[in-house]
Symmetry: C2
Subunit: 552 residues, 2 copies
């Protein structure tokens, strides 16, 4: 052990813990009259936000919640969610942000698994909870979240959110406690098995926020966030705290707009009416926004849009840029809080025309400060940063989940030798730019080479007769694995295996792929198996192939 | 004690300590070819900076330095200083940044008190060290810092810095250790008594840096620091790590220019030639820069200048603004690392003409995120934030010194009930703007009222015949204290007590001051006693007055 001089506190000195309450200090100091907007329903100032958080803390206490308890939240993106981001952890309790897109069975599983004590539930999810109520094993109470009226429910609710706030005292004396206290938890869904719970401490969220303020704010030429920006999230608040940006915006005193449900036309109207300048979303949502009727007569100039969640194609980025949006990419995952990488444009790159910039803007970006990111081979050795060699992304940062809730064995799989294994395959260019290639479980290992299933899908999909395609690796005695493709043809079109082979040969000739990347087996099917969230279910495809192989 | 859920790390999880080495990761990732410049003597890239820090760590190790040891630095502002800011703490040692403006006796005192093991010394300070060498009780070795050649010295030097770096290996495996390890120490000088040593941990410097990146970067309209800025410090690196900005600039990958000695004409030339866009200094230096010959034919447009250390007057700020500079104010002290407050301009204020903005820009500013700042009365009660009521500034932040080195009793005076007592008197306006009025020991307590000696000096100095003035409180049986002024007249001018009284009466009439603020005693003198660093020595003035009173 390294023997350093350890700091000596004088009598009476304050050992400042990194607690979420510290993030609430500055926003209202900078901009007390700045607005928090909830769609077209409500708007109030930062001064009021601060008071509402104090009231909420008192209301939660009156509902029996104390430090160490867990409060579940089922709501659309709202001011209430923002208030819970602060008030629940600030009293020492844990906020469980429930994924409202999961099946009722999964919602039930996560609520029992997280041991939720109190549930805050929006009217739209009352039927869901009424259905599973009898099976909730730890819940002691419910608070109703109503946008108007407060419809009757079979649930034994303690009251409606706004009424409880109005009754509560306006001052709460938030205590100090260990900065390693759990502040939030939520569940990630895989293709199979039960959802897994990740969790983040006060210290982790404070460090993530401080770092994100710097990372998003100091951008050359076009910072993603400045004090005079207007922020509207378009990734849900239940998912990795809307990428942590609500904490960042609140610290900075930035105007915040919460859109409720995600309906593209309403989002575009809110953008226009509230003069939104910064949002973040996944590429699918960006496409929906660009193609909705309301977009046709809307000027998107200067809307800074951070994309993440899945790869941003040049096509979608180009459409957005043509409409004036400034697109940036980020990389992260539920387990990483999520910030790992964000697009970084150097001065010379910013002076290029937007078309030339897009090649950089759609890449995953450069690791942000405090993030130590490596790519390693199967033996754990570091892989060269030459922009070509691929390896699994492993990371260290001050804000990574330390495991999965109540599942130490899964946590020990996530973490190995002090590095969080992302399960993503990437290359890193000599200047630090990270490019994600595939999920490690979907990469095809053939004759010592790695073939990206995503890249192969992208190339096959360029054939005009192909509507959709999935590529997986199936076992092969000689090569270890070889690629197999499922292809759905465009309506009224039919192609043969030979057609696809000839199509792919051009990419072999151009040096894009190796010849063994051409699938030996291509199956033409009516439909490709998908998961509950619409991703290609490669695990199921591989299992089907194996079963069929055995049957043959 | 509040009982929260504490985070559970999975097997293999990495508990990321906040260490200075983390700050070095991102700058070279963002801008590997960006420059570090040392006056007109040397320039190299961030890639080289990183390698030089590794070499320095090896050179220090070869010189016998290990974790827990202390390395002293006596140098002008240089790339070497920047390298020591990183390499010394990164091997687990403590960097003692020696105040080269102190007297030889004080330098000796601090070097023995800090228990320095190794000394890095610039050629210009060899005579100083040769003089005190025999009395250094803990120093085991010296390294010479030469800008050219390497003059002979009586000190037993181990070698010259550049030679030692050239000989050292280019890779050092920096270890992990407790984030509460002491990273740096330096001494503050008061008007009397020995200098006191403050100290900062890795955790404190990392948090100060992350917060400063955000604070300086997200500024509305005119951020103080962006990735494409060029930074040159004009407050010395031995003093509170040049306000911590070298760490901030390195994290961001910003071009850095270190000027060596502070000579106004050279500073202006460097500003021009290196296209500097951001600096920080004290008002006296700003005045010297504005009035030096080189300034006459230099365009200062867009030079962002952060002022601190003492109050910025409207006069100097106006001169700077008239030349195109963007002035901002900050507030902090050696004990606070130093960042506490920085000017914050709201959107509406930024749209006003610069003349109107100056009133805000010269104020001390708003507390930055994570800083909890209060004003309290003599009984410890909070004072109203009405812009009028005054109290002592007490603070909490994650980066305040936890005491004074080896002097627990002085640390216990600095800290009281968990608040660091700054000794400054301020008012806070309803919007959070802090205005420092005086040092608590210089404020004049008369008949239950507080009179700011600084404000009174400012008003008296407005009389055209007054060259300089000092105001102190002297004991008074009836009022507790009453103000007494020492006045130095302009050459060839003579005034009477009555003249000053009449002059001050106008400020009484306008409601600016109360009538008991007019000094009953005004002495016309040839000179005002100053401290070694050029501040008015009010303690000595009071002592002289008391001695004279007793003698009479």
């Amino acid at each position: 052990m390294v023997k350093t001089k350890i700091i000596t506190p004088a009598q009476g000195a304050y050992n400042y813990p990194l607690l979420i309450k510290s993030l609430l200090l500055s926003g209202q100091r900078y901009e007390a009259e700045q607005e928090i907007v909830y769609a077209d329903k409500l708007r109030f100032s930062y001064r009021t936000l601060n008071e509402r958080i104090h009231r909420l803390a008192n209301a939660l206490t009156a509902a029996g919640i104390k430090a160490g308890d867990t409060v579940a939240m089922l709501d659309w993106d709202s001011h209430r969610y923002l208030e819970c981001f602060f008030a629940v952890p600030m009293i020492g309790a844990v906020l469980h942000t429930v994924n409202i897109r999961m099946s009722p069975e999964q919602v039930l599983y996560t609520m029992n698994h997280a041991e939720d004590d109190l549930v805050l539930v929006h009217d739209d999810f009352l039927p869901l909870l009424e259905q599973i109520q009898g099976e909730l094993t730890t819940v002691k109470g419910f608070i109703q979240l109503s946008d108007e009226g407060a419809p009757a429910t079979a649930l034994p609710v303690l009251g409606e959110y706004e009424q409880l706030l109005a009754q509560a005292a306006a001052i709460y004396d938030f205590p100090d406690f260990d900065e390693n206290s759990v502040a939030t938890t939520f569940y990630t869904t895989g293709t199979t098995g039960n959802p897994k719970g990740v969790y983040f401490s006060h210290r982790q969220l404070v460090l993530h926020t401080l770092n994100a303020v710097g990372t998003l704010g100091v951008y050359q030429g076009a910072p993603l966030l400045r004090s005079d920006d207007v922020y509207m999230p378009i990734t849900p608040m239940f998912h990795v705290h809307a990428w942590g940006v609500p904490y960042v915006a609140t610290l900075m005193g930035i105007k915040q707009v919460y859109p409720g449900r995600y309906e593209p036309n309403s989002l575009v109207r809110l953008y226009r009416e509230e003069k939104v300048t910064f949002s973040h979303c996944v590429p699918t949502i960006l496409q929906m926004i660009l193609s909705c009727p309301e977009a046709a007569h809307t000027d998107f100039s200067g809307w800074k849009m951070l994309l993440g969640g899945s790869a941003l194609t040049l096509g979608v980025a180009g459409q957005a840029a043509a409409r004036g949006m400034l697109v940036h990419s980020g990389y992260g995952m539920s387990e990483t809080c999520p910030l790992l990488c964000v697009t970084y444009l150097r001065t010379a790159e910013l002076q290029q025309p937007m078309d030339a910039q897009l090649a950089v803007r759609i890449k995953t970006g450069v690791p942000v400060p405090m993030v130590d990111l490596r790519i390693i081979d199967a033996s754990g050795n570091r892989v060269a940063h030459d922009g070509v060699a691929q390896g699994e992304v492993v990371v260290r940062a001050p804000w990574l989940t330390q495991g999965y809730l109540h599942e130490p064995e899964k946590g020990a799989e996530l973490w190995e030798d002090g590095w969080l294994h992302t399960g993503d395959i990437a290359s890193i260019d000599p200047r630090g730019g990270v490019e994600i290639k595939d999920r490690i479980k979907d990469v095809i290992k053939t004759g010592g080479e790695w073939i990206s299933s995503l890249e192969l899908e992208s190339l096959i999909s360029k054939h005009p007769a192909v509507a959709s395609v999935a590529v997986v690796g199936i076992p092969d005695d000689q090569w270890g694995e070889r690629p197999m493709a499922l292809v759905v043809c465009q309506p009224g079109q039919a192609v043969e295996q030979k057609t696809i082979e000839v199509h792919l040969q051009q990419f072999v000739d151009s040096g894009h792929i190796n010849k063994w990347a051409i699938p030996k087996q291509i199956k033409f099917v009516a439909d490709i198996p998908k998961t509950s969230v619409g991703k290609i279910n490669k695990k199921l495809i591989r299992e089907n192939e194996l079963a069929q192989g055995r049957a043959e």
